[in-house]
Symmetry: C2
Amino acid sequence: MAILDYPSDRPRIVIVGAGFGGLNAAKQLGGDECDVVVIDRVNHHLFQPLLYQVATAALSPADISYPIRAVLRNLKRTRTLLGEVVGIDTTLRRVYLHEDEIPYDYLILAAGARHSYFGNKEWERIAPGLKGLDDALEIRRRILLAFEKAEREVEPARRKALLTFVVIGGGPTGVELAGAIAEIAKQVMVDDFRSIDPTDTRVILAEGGPRILATFPEELSKKAESALRDKGVWVWANTLATEITEDRVAFKGADPVATRTVLWAAGVQASPLGRMLGAATDRAGRVPVEPDLSVKGLPNVFVIGDLASLNGKDGKPLPGVAPVAMQQGRHVGKNILRAIEGKPLLPFEYRDKGNLATIGRAAAIADLGFVRLSGFVAWMAWLFVHVLYLIGFRNRAAVMLNWTWAYLKMQRGARLIYGDVERLVEPSEHSAGHEAEPEPASQHR
Amino acid sequence: MAILDYPSDRPRIVIVGAGFGGLNAAKQLGGDECDVVVIDRVNHHLFQPLLYQVATAALSPADISYPIRAVLRNLKRTRTLLGEVVGIDTTLRRVYLHEDEIPYDYLILAAGARHSYFGNKEWERIAPGLKGLDDALEIRRRILLAFEKAEREVEPARRKALLTFVVIGGGPTGVELAGAIAEIAKQVMVDDFRSIDPTDTRVILAEGGPRILATFPEELSKKAESALRDKGVWVWANTLATEITEDRVAFKGADPVATRTVLWAAGVQASPLGRMLGAATDRAGRVPVEPDLSVKGLPNVFVIGDLASLNGKDGKPLPGVAPVAMQQGRHVGKNILRAIEGKPLLPFEYRDKGNLATIGRAAAIADLGFVRLSGFVAWMAWLFVHVLYLIGFRNRAAVMLNWTWAYLKMQRGARLIYGDVERLVEPSEHSAGHEAEPEPASQHR
């Protein structure tokens, strides 16, 4: 175990997580007053709002991500480390990686959240959620493989199950995934198969609550639902998944559905890092923070983004969206600079600039407070905001190019499946037959 | 086991492999005279000459690959199947997949080649070769992780080993990989690290024979060597790897080198499908074919591309390059159409249009027969030819955009590592320490 102690006469700020919160904090702290160490489990910052486009083969991973150390290149007192934090000692003020430890003066936890299966951990393997690039590529793989398997399948009931996709959870991610899968099936792939008709595809969006996109005004939520129906998505409200297996989903509120592809967009669970602090966490694993974003009793530890729990001016919890994390990142950076100068810390105030969700090609909804938009206008607003916030010239140009191409040609350029061909075989069949070597050719003679 | 027998009154041609050979055969046969089934283990056609650019983070997988069924979309009598061929019965005229079987009237094997470790199979895990997208992403992962680990490493000897890259094999792939790694280290990453200086990186290109790029004229081979040296690559000729372990490579002809990253570009082995025919194969697993590209004694079975062994007009074996496969694909398509019409088959003649290899940014060599080029002019020729042959408007535009960006900004946009962070840990350390759960935070207190 090596101690990564980079000698310096300045205070050291360790930031765990290089998402929207962590990167904004790092930039705020990037001057000459302190040393900054940014630690992340992956080497790239991810533009998560467009992740579903990677999962549905419209964009490539490189279009929506950027090496963290390239983002922070010009901050000469800032280091980037690739590693997983496995422990925190708030008394010794140390962060532990698998092999190394790093002392800190101030700590910012910005490690975000992953999906929660509400205690049904065995569902994770069958119904993957969408948080990182690896998730997106696994979901893409499953969607594309389902069509490939259906093309080879001769038994009608199995073929129908292969062409049935169930998305669980009617929040923005679920809506975006369901809309995009319907588009792939009914527009992109329509001429590519000979044995199946991709327009036979059924996409079911199952939401446990009474309506999809519950954080939006009811009027917009209705518009989104009707736009999804126009795309051919079956929207099932008040429908709670009670059992998920390799070949079916059972619901409370609806009949079971035979399917081979289930995607999870229903719940989030904060990173386990919150619990490593030894402070209290809420049910979702979030750390309740003080108005200045510090942790009660740990004045030099700050938590931001999806890992933090804080109420807004209206008394309701702040949502787990990128603008909250970005504003908190900048705020915590300023507060730490104030603490170094001996000034009192300032409370965080969220400035809500609106709420956007897209339903697919040329359709979105937007609640900008002063105005509510839907359809093509909302989609243009969505496109503008999302391309604007992408880091780096090349990513913006590449994304615009890919989208233009996808829009004009109704094609998705990233329809690639990676990984072992062995995984084409169903898990059950795999365990039955493929433990043994494949039959040699001579046995066929 | 389902029989995929699509009823028809036309003869059925089964093509195994959708590389340059297989796709060209499919296009030639794409009219109304016959039914065609194209089978591949992956869902995309790969533009293999640019694969090293994916491995070295200049391009994304989607830039150099295209869904096979999208390429063949407009050929209405052509089907695409994703699957692995595990057996062939030339008497019953059937091809066997893991779960299905497909009868054929004519069979075209175009399954290509993989790397050969000359009997040292245990080297494959340590020193991956470059044939498919998965290989490219694994190599990219190893190169980028080596720099990340070096940045965290405090012990000088280990750090030096992490910054040492050994490429084994001085053919075009080895030359391209070595040149690109040197560029990443000495140009792209130069400002991105704080503990290491990426320009300390050593890239060693070890070739067993007396010179690199042995298929080129000696004059061009010398120019390539001096261009590589200018980029900082150590070129070792007459240097044969005798042992490869996790932390070093031993050579005959040179001292051993401590390294954590070894890449294999030394030998190829034809696909095992050749042996499934029951016909004779040469030492590299290639099937010797008749002048009309059919297999001796099996007049309705044809083998093309890297899987076939055929001598050219000069009596020397045809090289394993894309133009040979493409011309053979078109030829075998024409020959099968002739066979269907009852006409005699024609012998194949290779038209050699030249030989190109790139050494990195703005440097290449070209042997066009009537003229030999090197440096920037050769590189422009290389660029023109390779972008021209890319399939699909979007790929060409995306590749040009990525290259322009990489060229102007000295950046590589696809510097992404996918996969488990667990794999950051060395295999040896992994087995020693990480079988158990990571230490909980409380133990640090």
